[in-house]
């Protein structure tokens, strides 16, 4: 049988796509279903000794104050972090676009935190934010503001951690927006200027709508990132992870502690399923309500 050129291309493409797809199915999708299965059992090394408990773990989730705390913290991280990251990223990208000199230098400066290891970032920030020796408090005292406990305060720790994460993600966000800005054809601005539009109106009617794809991508990816927040939280308070007083605990950290420090993998799997459903629901919601069809 002779395949047409097109047919052969399709065949090859499918073969090449099948390999990563199989990998993805086996290492990503299958474990997700396994988690669902595990969540119905009490964990034991020996599969024959795993006791079927049905939905017991889900009932326990409902009454678990730490679970509630982890859930509300996780949502709060996303609600604070995503808008802040996007707003600052957009402002910086717009400013950077106007910088005529040393543009690459500035871009590198803003991108540097993104490629710095999280552990190093956490270490440096925990010193900068120290109530007794930190640079930030030094500055506050100089300005006549009393020193703040930041990471050591149950009420300030979550916003402080969020800030460190925003600071670290900012570089990536800026790069995304710069790419988005560059893809907007110059002609639109020129045409608008001829019609007498300036400044804010250019932004409002051209830049903002045409950045929508970048914005949607940023919101979705950013939200998923905050919903899975783990490394920064662990490293900013290493000996009381999720503390003080569980004020920085996230779902991912709670899953980790339950599964790998308390060997309660069945219950941890149930939390994983909740996190999975949560991410899926929020992502679908965002895709539906944020995406704008743009007609030019």
């Amino acid at each position: 049988m002779q395949l047409s050129l097109r047919g052969r291309e399709v065949l090859w493409a499918s073969i090449f796509l099948a390999i990563p797809l199989a990998f993805f199915l086996y290492f990503r999708i299958l474990p997700a279903f396994q988690a669902l299965y595990l969540s119905l059992y009490d964990w034991h090394v020996d599969p024959s000794q795993r006791r079927f408990v049905g939905l017991e773990h889900y009932e326990r989730l409902w009454e678990d104050p730490l679970m509630r705390r982890a859930l509300s913290n996780t949502l709060l991280y996303s609600l604070l972090g995503v808008p802040l990251q996007i707003a600052l990223g957009l402002v910086l990208a717009l400013l950077l676009q106007r910088v005529p000199v040393a543009r690459d230098f500035f871009r590198a400066v803003y991108f540097a935190p993104y490629v710095t290891p999280v552990v190093a970032v956490a270490w440096v920030w925990s010193w900068m934010l120290s109530p007794h020796f930190g640079l930030v408090n030094e500055l506050l005292v100089f300005l006549g503001i009393p020193p703040q406990p930041f990471l050591q305060s149950p009420s300030q720790a979550l916003p402080t951690v969020t800030w460190v994460v925003v600071w670290q993600n900012l570089g990536f966000q800026v790069v995304l927006f710069l790419a988005g800005l560059q893809s907007i054809p110059r002609q639109y601005y020129e045409a608008a200027r001829i019609d007498g539009a300036e400044g804010w109106r250019l932004f409002r009617h051209i830049t903002w709508p045409l950045l929508n794809p970048v914005l949607v991508f940023s919101v979705v990816i950013g939200t998923i990132g905050y919903l899975q927040l783990f490394t920064q939280v662990v490293n900013l308070n290493f000996t009381d992870q999720g503390g003080p007083l569980n004020s920085t605990l996230t779902l991912a950290l709670y899953i980790y502690q339950t599964a790998f420090l308390r060997f309660d993998l069945g219950y941890a799997a149930a939390i994983t399923v909740v996190l999975f459903v949560l991410i899926l629901a929020i992502t679908l919601f965002q895709l539906k309500f944020l995406t704008r069809r743009i007609e030019v």
Partner: protein, 411 residues
């Protein structure tokens, strides 16, 4: 008769020809890794038919590795674990009980706290070394402030503490005591202060929380007052993991309460004359200390001839020879009752106070160390960071911890 001996001979030669390989896991800590390597070398010399593979993982990844590898059938035959993890590991099937005679050996040869490795009547492992708590102090700082001897009572402790505390406005530049609820202080409150004030932290069988008593509350408030009333220290003075220890090493903290496992790190870092003393106490009251240990346990992967080999290895690394070597190399206290009676060791200015404390140290009967640790750390932090009334905070903690115990014991 002849047939049997021929069979034994054949099995023996087969066993000799086919060396048995067993795997030992521990977390990465240089002196411990080197010590086990050396012990394996000695063991293999004496047991040519057994080969021991030694694998280590970073501390943060250790439990995760164990959790996932053993179910996959690829993990260790002998594994090193913190005693407080034993019950959760046992429940999840990660450890198998040791033979009867091992439990008798523990009763006979080891310091009493090692009984914490017994879960529901069965022994799940044995340690090479044990640890206790003591007061570390900066002798140079003491001398500069005219303090001649380490505090023996809590009254003296508070007096020394406030003398060594320096403030600048709202901020501290030096503190007398390195307050660390999430360091060793949660143990200090639970096992030391509660007992010293005449209370009991838990019931005899470890199934009931008893620290929410008048004595317990006195102990708890006494501790939180170090920060609230006496201001001899503040939590999080130095940031980072074990900031209290770093601050002490840096010479900015006069005293800390820490475990014998910290001796090495502190000695290596401190640029001042280090002093160690037994924990302060009421001269008429009872003595108390918190003891803990890492034990070597057998996993379900050690079956058949591997189990025999693993038990032999276990016996070797917990022998008195190994314990003596461990003390020299790692600097951890021997777990043998006999070895800690060595007068030279008791006279040692650094090890002495820890050794002396072993006689009256208790290992908290944790069932879920991660969760129970958090309960006490949070109880302290509620008072220190949120100004919650100590009585209320302690009551909440007792209720929360009782729920953890009840869940474990199935009530």
């Amino acid at each position: 008769m002849r047939g049997i001996s021929v069979m034994i001979l054949m099995t023996l030669s087969f066993a000799l020809a086919q060396p048995i390989t067993i795997t030992y896991w521990q977390y990465e800590f240089r002196s411990k890794v080197e010590a086990i390597d050396e012990l394996i070398r000695r063991f293999q010399e004496q047991n040519p038919g057994i080969r021991v593979v030694h694998q280590t993982f970073p501390y943060d990844a250790f439990q995760q590795k164990v959790a996932t590898s053993i179910p996959a059938g690829q993990g260790p035959d002998v594994v090193n674990l913190y005693y407080g993890w034993t019950p959760t590991w046992v429940r999840a099937g990660y450890l198998v009980p040791l033979p009867e005679e091992w439990a008798r050996r523990v009763e006979r040869e080891f310091v009493p706290m090692v009984r914490a490795a017994i879960v529901e009547g069965q022994l799940f492992g044995v340690p090479t070394a044990v640890r206790s708590l003591a007061l570390f102090y900066n002798q140079d700082l003491f001398r500069r402030n005219g303090i001649a001897t380490p505090p023996r009572t809590w009254e003296e402790f508070l007096a020394v503490g406030s003398r060594l505390t320096l403030r600048q406005g709202n901020r501290f530049t030096q503190i007398g005591y390195g307050v660390a609820p999430d360091g060793q202080d949660h143990h200090l409150v639970r096992e030391v202060l509660v007992r010293q004030f005449g209370g009991q932290p838990y019931s005899e069988d470890g199934r009931r929380v008893l620290y929410n008593s008048p004595a317990g509350l006195q102990a708890f408030s006494f501790y939180t007052d170090w920060v609230r009333r006496h201001a001899i220290g503040v939590p999080g003075f130095f940031p980072g993991n074990n900031g209290y220890r770093d601050g002490f090493i840096a010479g900015r903290i006069g005293m800390i309460i820490d475990g014998s496992f910290a001796i090495g790190t502190i000695r290596q870092g401190a640029r001042f004359n280090l002093g160690v003393a037994e924990l302060p106490r009421d001269p008429n009251g009872p003595r108390a200390n918190f003891g803990s240990f890492w034990l070597h346990g057998l996993t379900p992967l050690a079956t058949g001839p591997k189990r025999e080999a693993a038990l032999r290895f276990l016996e070797f690394i917990t022998s008195e020879e190994a314990q003596r070597y461990w003390l020299e190399k790692v600097g951890e206290l021997p777990a043998s009752r006999r070895l800690i009676q060595d007068p030279a060791l008791l006279r040692d200015p650094i090890y002495g106070p820890f050794i002396a404390s072993l006689a009256y140290a208790t290992a908290t009967p944790f069932v879920d160390e991660t969760a129970q640790r958090r309960v006490m750390v949070d109880a302290i932090n509620r008072v220190l960071l949120q100004n919650v009334d100590p009585a209320q905070s302690l009551r909440l903690a007792a209720e929360e911890e009782q729920r953890i115990l009840d869940r474990f014991w199935g009530r």
